[in-house]
């Protein structure tokens, strides 16, 4: 399963890196009126969109946006989440209580309206979208990291290190972090999947960066231009399928890593 995920992932990464170089695509340049919403043909393997642009080229260009937003947003949310979680878990007491209450609020918040408001207020540039997704999605990570840090902190090897005279930060760096990290890592990969979904949804709802169309934005245009009632399945299906496959790839890799790095001690 992990292997399948990895292969899919590598495929999309290669497309994202080399695709736009080999087949340049300008989203602002419309095709000829004769090319509007044409079904797949030899010239346009996946047909054309409502502006007469090639769908396949759009997909290739969109892969770069989707992957970039997904990964960078994850970096943001992981950094915030890990920082909050570790601080709360390590300092404990009042700091922990306050941070966790705040985290819990973020955890239950309906994040879509929040993201939409933030995106609308900040303006829908690619970087803002990355920031918005990252800043709304850190709560789960913070909880996880805190729980893990607490669990590790209670383990006897940490107490042993204290008995040996290790300092607080020494213990943190040498014993707590290395044992929390694998868990964060598997979780990170799962978060990428969620971030890509978030980006797709935001773009679909019209909050994407229109100069850098992603798969979600293609679907936005498809939906808005009435591709459903036109039966323009070539415009509707491929972008969604790409999202599905990439998200699956990350999910597979995440679960597989989780299995490798955090083997649960199952009873016989």
């Amino acid at each position: 399963m992990g292997m399948a995920g990895l292969i899919l992932f590598l495929f999309f990464v290669l497309v994202a890196i080399f695709g736009p170089i080999l087949w340049p695509y300008d989203p602002l340049e419309f095709g000829s009126p004769a090319d509007v919403l044409q079904p797949p043909s030899a010239a346009h393997w996946l047909g054309t969109d409502d502006m007469g642009r090639d769908v396949l080229l759009g997909l290739i260009a969109g892969s770069r946006v989707s992957l970039m937003v997904g990964i960078l947003a994850t970096v943001v949310s992981m950094s915030v989440g890990a920082f909050v979680g570790l601080t709360a878990g390590y300092l404990g007491k009042g700091t922990d209580a306050v941070l966790m209450r705040f985290t819990d609020v973020f955890l239950v918040l309906p994040w879509l309206p929040l993201m939409l408001i933030l995106a609308a207020l900040l303006g829908a540039s690619l970087w803002n979208i990355i920031l918005v997704i990252g800043l709304t999605g850190w709560a789960g990570t913070a909880r996880l990291v805190r729980a893990q840090a607490l669990a590790v902190k209670e383990r006897p090897f940490v107490e042993r290190a204290r008995a040996l005279g290790s300092s607080r930060w020494g213990i943190m760096g040498r014993h707590v972090l290395p044992n929390v990290f694998p868990l964060i890592f598997a979780n990170t990969i799962l978060i990428v999947a969620v971030s890509i979904l978030s980006e797709t949804t935001l773009s679909f709802l019209g909050m994407g960066d229109s100069t850098r169309p992603s798969w979600g934005m293609m679907l936005h245009f498809a939906f808005a231009s009435g591709a459903i009632s036109n039966g323009a399945y070539w415009f509707l299906v491929p972008p969604g399928l790409c999202v599905l496959l990439v998200v699956l790839a990350f999910t597979f890799m995440g679960y597989a890593l989780d299995e490798i790095l955090n083997p649960k001690l199952r009873k016989r």
């Binding site: 107490e159 042993r160 008995a163 040996l164 005279g165 014993h175």
Partner: protein, 330 residues
């Protein structure tokens, strides 16, 4: 008697019971777990001092307290290490103390960092205390320490991870990591209770041989009187945060005077068929250290209570040289 290295006087460890946010506001009296409730003892150089009791009696807490591993505001009393008060040590003195006093933990499966190799684990104390002069020196010391702990040939172990070792080998690694600082005092908290029966004796023998070779003193914490019997010079029996009987192991275990110690000795399994040996089995279980009974804390379970036991708490009285017990019957 050998020169004293550790002296504990009126040690108390009281943990505040976590109260909820709302409760804290209402001004209710804060409940306290009196885990250790005023105990005194001393350990001489090269001596094995056993602290024996059932779970929850405060023996492990005592062990952590004498190594200053608890929250400082829970601990009161006096703990002197070579005459220096542990609770008032400066940071540099504390660092020095950490070199001299070490702990061996109960569970060798949990007390070693699973992501470090044996070499990392055993050399860590050198890094913490900046003791190695060079990489070669470090390697040499680690090898010597492993050998001391009976892990030979050392090359076979250096690059292995804890999960690749058996329980007994892990406990030896933990001992090696403690030994590398050349400690004078070791707290051993049930060091063999998680190990297979067949390797327990080896670990205990190792501990004894280290005592003989390096004059290391031990605070040996155990629930098993038989282990105290084969290992200890002195023994103390704890009940609900207090020492009820203390003295030379021979006296405390073979001729116990406190009714609790007597009951504890009597229920030890023996390799005898259902003999008609009379024995008193205490009813019930030790109460929770939040609500400690008045007077002698043992009186509700005592088979031979006196009226005054309910009101007055007995103090440890000397019965014969060094053998003391806290009971109104004596």
């Amino acid at each position: 008697m050998a020169p004293e290295i550790l002296r504990v006087e009126e040690l108390k460890v009281h943990f505040p019971l976590r109260s909820s946010f709302l409760q804290g506001k209402s001004g209710a009296v804060k409940k306290v777990v009196r885990a250790v409730d005023g105990i005194s003892f001393s350990i001489g150089e090269g001596e094995v001092f056993a602290l024996v009791g059932e779970s929850g009696c405060g023996k492990t807490t005592t062990g952590k307290a004498v190594l200053d591993l608890l929250e400082p505001d829970c601990v009161s009393g006096k703990i002197e290490f070579f005459g220096q008060d542990l609770l008032r040590m400066k940071a540099t003195e504390m660092k020095q103390f950490r070199r001299r006093a070490q702990m061996i933990f109960q569970d060798p499966y949990q007390s070693l960092n699973p992501r470090e190799t044996v070499y990392d684990i055993v050399s860590e104390p050198l890094a913490i205390h900046r003791l190695a002069k060079s990489e070669a020196d470090r390697r040499e010391r680690v090898a010597a320490s492993l050998e001391n702990a009976g892990l030979k040939p050392t090359e076979d172990y250096l690059d292995r991870y804890p999960h690749e070792l058996s329980g007994g080998q892990r406990q030896r690694v933990a001992i090696a990591a403690a030994l590398i600082l050349e400690p004078l005092f070791l707290v051993a908290d049930e060091p063999v209770s998680m190990l297979d029966v067949s390797v327990r004796a080896d670990i205990l023998k190792l501990m004894v041989s280290l005592r003989d070779r390096y004059r290391i003193s031990y605070l040996f914490i155990t629930h098993d009187l038989a282990l105290a019997w084969v290992l200890a010079d002195h023994a103390a029996i704890m009940y609900l945060g207090k020492i009820v009987e203390v003295g030379p192991a021979e006296a405390v275990i073979q001729k116990p005077r406190h009714p609790y110690s007597q009951a504890l000795v009597e229920v030890m399994p023996r390799s005898e068929p259902r003999a008609a040996r009379p024995r008193v089995i205490l009813r019930g279980e030790a109460p929770n250290p939040v609500q400690i009974p008045s007077g002698c804390r043992f009186h509700p379970r005592c088979p031979i209570p006196l009226p005054r036991c309910k009101e007055d708490e007995p103090a440890l009285e000397e019965l014969e040289s060094g053998h003391r017990a806290a009971c109104w019957r004596l």
